[in-house]
């Protein structure tokens, strides 16, 4: 027994210490990471073509990166994108974060860049946060089409806009003015406070209210944000009505917001007394139009956005357009589209939905 112990201790003395082992582990990691890195580096230049093929023969890969997956509006937009891509004969894919955060889109852009995607169609959660990643993507040869929500113009080739921002704003002001009889307090219930498109519309709404003498009697008393979250928008609507007893109308330029507000109004005494206009999906609003909560709201056909974006992507890759003002391209059944000021492509005028026509639409 004693002898054995002694021997063990003896061997111990030659052994590395616990700390020594740690150093070894550290070194192992460092070496391997370095190896992997250099290995990759060596592999890249000659390898990138490989069996996957490259260049003209390959189907045009168009990847859509919406603000957030699993959003009904997004799904409609994407359905158009898919249709457009298939018409071109391109390879359609969708990636995106589950929550509308700016930084998570960056990782997806990186991945798309690496996959050699030819066209990235993006709806930016933050106009600047995605910038550096998009620049890298462009450096790697991708064309960038922004749609729905623009990035900083420096980072993309074209922006496919629903309609002229001002038109969207004006139609909403017009509608609310009609419905409240041209005077009274109104409020805006928007998506997130830094959503690019909503903010632009709100800016135009405010300008129009201030400058157009027809609207002199209308006061905008509040702007609140429901973050495109149903429950939150619902409570914000409720908060508005409790905070502003004389409120006569609400503008909600977001599909989630208008649906939540309509639902709140329809269950209260305010139904029919407080006007509600904005941008909504016919399928979501049908019930409220029919029960009289909402008289009229507006929207473009979101599917057209995706559809045109796909064609714009192809045109950019072909070289048909470069994003310069005056360039034109054919967008399938929607005909010729022109690149306007600031690289913006306008899809079409907004549609007004009311009890008379709502059943004609299914999206």
């Amino acid at each position: 027994m004693k002898g054995r112990t002694m021997k063990l201790i003896h061997t111990r003395a030659h052994r590395d210490t616990a700390s020594g082992r740690r150093i070894a582990a550290f070194a192992a990691i460092a070496t391997t990471v370095a190896l992997v890195a250099t290995g990759c580096a060596a592999a890249t230049p000659g390898d990138s073509g490989g069996s996957d093929g490259d260049g003209a023969t390959e189907a045009l890969s168009i990847a859509f990166l919406p603000k957030q997956l699993n959003n009904p509006y997004t799904d409609v937009v994407l359905s158009g994108g898919k249709a457009g891509t298939e018409e071109i004969g391109g390879e359609y894919s969708v990636v995106g974060p589950l929550e509308a955060s700016a930084s998570s889109q960056v990782s997806f852009i990186n991945t798309l860049t690496q996959q050699g995607t030819k066209v990235i169609v993006i709806a930016a959660n933050d106009p600047d946060a995605v910038g550096p990643a998009l620049e890298e993507a462009r450096a790697a040869g991708a064309k960038i089409v922004a749609f729905d929500s623009d990035t900083n113009p420096d980072y993309r080739d074209v922006f496919i806009s629903q309609v002229v921002s001002k038109d969207v704003a004006l139609i909403q002001v017009e509608q609310i003015a009609e419905q409240i009889g041209g005077s009274g307090e109104i409020a805006i219930l928007s998506a997130t406070a830094n959503a690019t498109n909503q903010n632009e519309w709100i800016k135009f709404i405010e300008e129009e209210l201030a400058s157009n003498p027809e609207y002199a009697d209308i006061t905008l008393v509040a702007k609140v944000y429901g973050d495109d979250d149903d429950a939150k928008s619902f409570q914000e609507a409720q908060g508005l009505l409790s905070a502003y007893p004389n409120l006569k109308g609400i503008i909600s330029p977001t599909t989630v917001g208008i649906a939540a507000t309509a639902r709140y109004l329809s269950t209260t005494d305010f139904k029919g007394k407080v006007a509600l206009v904005g941008l909504g999906l016919p399928n979501e609003m049908r019930e409220f139009v029919k029960d009289g909560t909402v008289k009229e709201f507006a929207l473009w056909d979101p599917a057209q956005l995706g559809y045109v974006a796909a064609f714009a992507g192809q045109a950019l890759v072909d070289g048909t357009i470069t994003g310069a003002v005056g360039d034109t391209f054919m967008a399938g059944e929607l005909g010729e589209k022109e690149v306007g000021e600031g690289g913006i492509v306008i899809v079409g005028p907004p549609t007004r939905f009311n009890a008379d026509n709502i059943d004609d639409y299914d999206f």
Binding site: A37, A102, S103, D126, P132
Partner: protein, 359 residues
């Protein structure tokens, strides 16, 4: 975390002399090659090799760059977090600290404060936020879990108060470019050098300093640690402070990398950090854990996520995988323990049977 429900091996196992129960002493290399860290390392290699050969586009320098850029914030925060968990505490407020740092950074910069001053103030802020956690946990003796759930809400709330729904984007280009620049052709981001420095500091702190020895001791047994003069409360306080400081560092990196200061930055990454730390072999009950292990844990989660994304799996899968890895990493040791216990019980039962038969 305040209550340990598991009987740890040391307390439950009756003492035996070396003579009665032969303890196998494995050779040095077998031990290194069979250690938990090593096994994790094999797993990492396996994933890398698999992705390298099977997943298109993985074999590229861009992978290294993008992957590392993605994991840097997690890797940074995992270092102090590992130490915090080793002492038997937890800090859930790290992601909110990142968010608040980012928000303050944006607001200060927009107000015209020179960027250098902004960075210093941000690090200072992180230190203060960590100190608040540390004070509540050590001075008031509150459970860190509850405290940091509270500060998770509080710090994120402050971020909202500070910057609201705005975003600040116009940080100096030199800085934003620096944050994503690579070391030559290797694809390794320059910032990794800073991260490695931080890892080295925490690795040395844990494994090669008196303070590290004290942390391990108090993680296993707070009372015994107090009996050798270890100032338990003070040690924990400084760990929370360091967590706050490193989280604010991660916040600065986050803001610069995405050149966007927003209140919702890094929402939810505490889960990824904790999952990586636990996967890296740190015991949720305290005491056990190593910095190399944690680094491997972070890289493993990062690589799996990146590979899945590259293989066009949806983000849905990613969140399920992260959650499952977290649960697996804490449940696995318990199951192993349970299996060992069963085995032991069966052996004891057999011995008793033999003894009974002998009588």
């Amino acid at each position: 975390m305040s209550e340990r429900t598991i009987v740890r091996s040391g307390e439950g196992v009756p003492a035996t002399t070396a003579g009665t129960l032969p303890v196998r002493v494995r050779s040095r290399w077998t031990r290194i090659l069979l250690s938990r860290d090593a096994v994790m390392f094999y797993a990492l290699i396996a994933v890398v090799v698999y992705a390298y050969t099977q997943v298109p586009y993985f074999a590229s320098t861009q992978t290294v760059g993008f992957l590392l850029l993605d994991v840097i914030p997690i890797l940074l925060i995992a270092m102090p977090m590992a130490l915090v968990i080793i002492t038997g505490e937890i800090d859930l407020s790290v992601a909110s600290t990142v968010g608040l740092t980012s928000a303050v950074m944006g607001v200060l910069f927009q107000a015209g404060v020179p960027i250098g001053v902004v960075l210093v103030l941000c690090l200072l802020l992180g230190t203060v936020l960590g100190a608040v956690n540390g004070f509540l946990v050590t001075a008031l003796g509150l459970p860190s879990l509850a405290v940091t759930i509270g500060t998770l809400a509080l710090y994120r709330g402050f971020a909202l108060v500070v910057i609201g729904d705005n975003a600040v984007a116009n940080f100096p280009q030199e800085l934003t470019r620096f944050s994503t620049s690579k070391l030559g052709d290797t694809g390794i981001p320059v910032v990794m050098l800073l991260v490695l420095a931080v890892a080295l500091v925490f690795g040395v702190l844990l494994h090669f300093t008196p303070f590290g020895r004290a942390l391990v001791a108090l993680g296993f047994n707070k009372e015994a640690a107090a009996f050798v003069g270890i100032r338990v409360g003070r040690a924990k306080f400084w760990l929370f402070v360091s967590t706050g400081l490193v989280s604010s560092l991660a916040g600065i990196f986050w803001t610069l990398r995405y050149s966007s200061a927003r209140s919702d930055n890094a929402t939810g990454i505490e889960l990824a950090v904790i999952a990586a730390v636990l996967l890296g072999g740190v015991s949720i009950f305290g005491g056990t854990g190593s910095i190399p292990g944690v680094i491997i844990g972070v890289l493993l989660i990062g690589t799996i996520n990146y590979t899945l994304r590259l293989a066009r799996f949806s983000d849905v899968v990613l969140s399920i995988v992260t959650g499952a890895l977290l649960i697996a990493s804490v449940v696995a040791p318990s199951i192993a323990e349970w299996a060992r216990g069963r085995l032991h019980a069966r052996r004891t039962a057999r011995l008793e049977l033999q003894r009974a038969a002998a009588q």
